[in-house]
Symmetry: C2
C-alpha cells in the first residue's frame, strides 16, 4: 500500500512515524518547506511527494479549510482512499461530497494531541492507547473503511469509534472544543499574573491547553459554532448553579450540587456502547 | 524534634512519609481507627499518639472545622509549634487567634494533592518539587516560622511562598478552588454519559478532579465564599466573551479573544516575585 501524508505537523508527522514504526513506507508533502526538510532529514517520511495521483492512500493532515482546498486542488488515483484528520467532520464531509469524486473518502479524527504543535513535536507513540473516531455516511465504501481501520490499528490506536459526522461534531464540541474554550477562559483572571507559587496539579491541568494556536482553534470553533455555543451555555448554567449554592451558604445544598457532578462523571465512564449511534471496536 | 501528625489522610500520611524519608521520627493520630491501624502496619508513623502536650511540633492535617475543633480541644506543650495544612487560611488564623495560646501557630498549605484521598494513597514524594504556602500574621513567631521552613524543606518541597492569610485565600480561590468548581461544572453536560471514546488528554485534564469529595470541598468553598464567587463570576464573563465572539462569527475577533488568553498565560509564568505581598524562597 502506497501511502502519502499531506501536512507534516504534529498529527501528520506522528502518523508518518507511527506507520513507519509498523513497517510501512510513507511519503509526505507540506505547504511550507521547513517541516518537509525536517521530515526528510529525520526520517519521519521516506520521500517527498510532489503529486498525489500515484497513491493508494492519502491522509490529509491539514486544518479544515486547507484540507478542503487541498482535496479540491489535487488529482487522486481512481479508487484511492483520501482521509482527513480534522477536528470537525460535517463541514469536510459536506465539502468533499459536493461533487462526484474518483476517490473514496473516509473521515478520521484521532483523539490524541499535545499542547505544542509542529513536526518537531511529532512522535511514533502519540496514538498508542488512543481512540480514533471514524465517520461513516450513507455512501461510505465498506472496503475503504476497513482498509483505513487496518492502518489505524497499525498506528497503535486502542479502539475505533464509528459514528456519523453529525454525532462526531456534537460530541467533540463537548469533549475537546469546550475543554479548550474553558482553559482559555480560565487563564483570564486578574490573578493569573501573580499566582504561580500557589499552583498545583489542578491548576496545571486546567491551563495546559490555554496556549494552543488561536488560529487553528478559532477556525474549528466557527465550523462547529452551533454545537459549541450550546455547550458553553450549558457550562455557564452549571457554574451559575454552583455559585448560587455558595451564595446561599447552605452546606447540604452545595454538597448535593457537587455530588451530582461526581456521580455523573463516575456513571459516564462505561456507557459509550449503549448509544446506538456509535459503534466501538476494540483493536488488538 | 518531637513531631506528631494529627489526621492521617492523603496529606497527613504523605507528610509523615516525607518526614520519615528525611530521617525524622513521626507519631500520628487519627479520629477513626482504620487509618491509624494502616499507618502503624505500613510504617507511615512510628507510634500512635493519644495526647499532644509532649510534642514540639504538631501538624494538624484535618479539614478546616475539624482542625479548629482539634486545636481548641487539646492541650499543647508551652512554646510548641502547631501548624495546619488547610486550604483556607483566614478562617483558621482567626479562630486560632481568638484567644491567647501557649503555642505558636504557623499556617501552611501544601500545593500538592491527588484526585484520590485516604492514607492508602499517601506517598513520600507527594511534595517533591511543589510549593508550600506559609502564612504570616503580625504576631507570627519568627523562630517558629524558620523551624517549620526547615521541615518543609526536608519534606521535599521546592519553594516556600510566604504571604498573609488574606492573600492566600484570594489566590487559592483562583488557582485551586475555581479549578475544582470548573471540573465539577464541566462534567454536568448532557453528553457526559456517552462521550468516552471521544476523549483525549484535554478531556482527561478537565475531569481529573471532578470526582473529589464534595463534603471536603463544599466546606472549603463556603469558608472562602466571597473570593470564590467573584472568581466564578469572572470566569462566566470570560466564557460569555468567547461565546459572543463565536456567535458573531468573525474569525479575527474570535482569534483575538483567544490570543489574549494565550498571552496572559505565557506572561504570568514568571511574574510571582513582582508582587510585594508575596515572598518566594527557593529551597535547596
Amino acid at each position: 500500500m502506497n501511502i502519502c501524508i499531506a501536512g507534516l505537523g504534529l498529527i501528520g508527522g506522528s502518523m508518518a512515524l507511527a506507520l513507519k514504526r509498523a513497517g510501512y513506507s510513507v511519503d509526505g508533502w507540506n505547504r511550507s518547506k521547513e517541516p518537509l526538510g525536517y521530515a526528510l532529514e529525520n526520517n519521519v517520511i521516506d520521500s517527498a511527494a510532489a503529486r498525489f495521483d500515484d497513491y493508494d492512500m492519502v491522509f490529509v493532515a491539514l486544518p479544515p479549510k486547507a484540507a478542503v482546498q487541498f482535496i479540491n486542488g489535487n488529482a487522486f488515483k481512481d479508487g484511492a482512499i483520501v482521509s482527513d484528520i480534522c477536528g470537525v467532520k460535517e463541514y469536510i464531509e459536506r465539502e468533499v461530497c459536493l461533487k462526484p469524486r474518483n476517490f473514496k473518502y473516509i473521515g478520521c479524527h484521532p483523539m490524541a494531541g499535545k499542547e505544542v504543535s509542529g513536526i518537531e513535536n511529532a512522535c511514533a507513540d502519540l496514538f498508542d492507547r488512543a481512540s480514533m473516531v471514524m465517520t461513516r455516511a450513507q455512501n461510505t465504501d465498506n472496503s475503504a473503511f476497513e482498509r483505513v481501520e487496518k492502518l489505524v490499528k497499525d498506528m497503535g490506536f486502542a479502539r475505533i469509534v464509528e459514528c456519523s459526522a453529525e454525532v462526531h461534531d456534537r460530541k467533540i464540541a463537548y469533549t475537546s472544543q469546550l475543554a479548550h474554550v474553558l482553559s482559555n477562559a480560565y487563564v483570564k483572571d486578574e490573578d493569573i499574573e501573580e499566582c504561580f507559587g500557589f499552583t498545583g496539579g489542578s491548576f496545571q491541568d486546567m491551563t495546559r491547553i490555554a496556549g494552543v494556536d488561536e488560529n487553528v482553534w478559532a477556525s474549528l470553533y466557527l465550523l462547529n459554532a452551533q454545537n459549541l455555543t450550546r455547550k458553553i451555555s450549558g457550562l455557564i448554567d452549571s457554574l451559575e448553579e454552583i455559585k448560587d449554592a455558595i451564595d446561599k451558604g447552605d452546606f447540604d445544598d452545595l454538597a448535593a450540587v457537587l455530588h451530582r457532578g461526581r456521580e455523573l462523571f463516575a456513571a459516564g465512564k462505561e456507557n459509550l456502547c449503549k448509544n446506538r449511534d456509535i459503534f466501538v471496536k476494540y483493536l488488538k
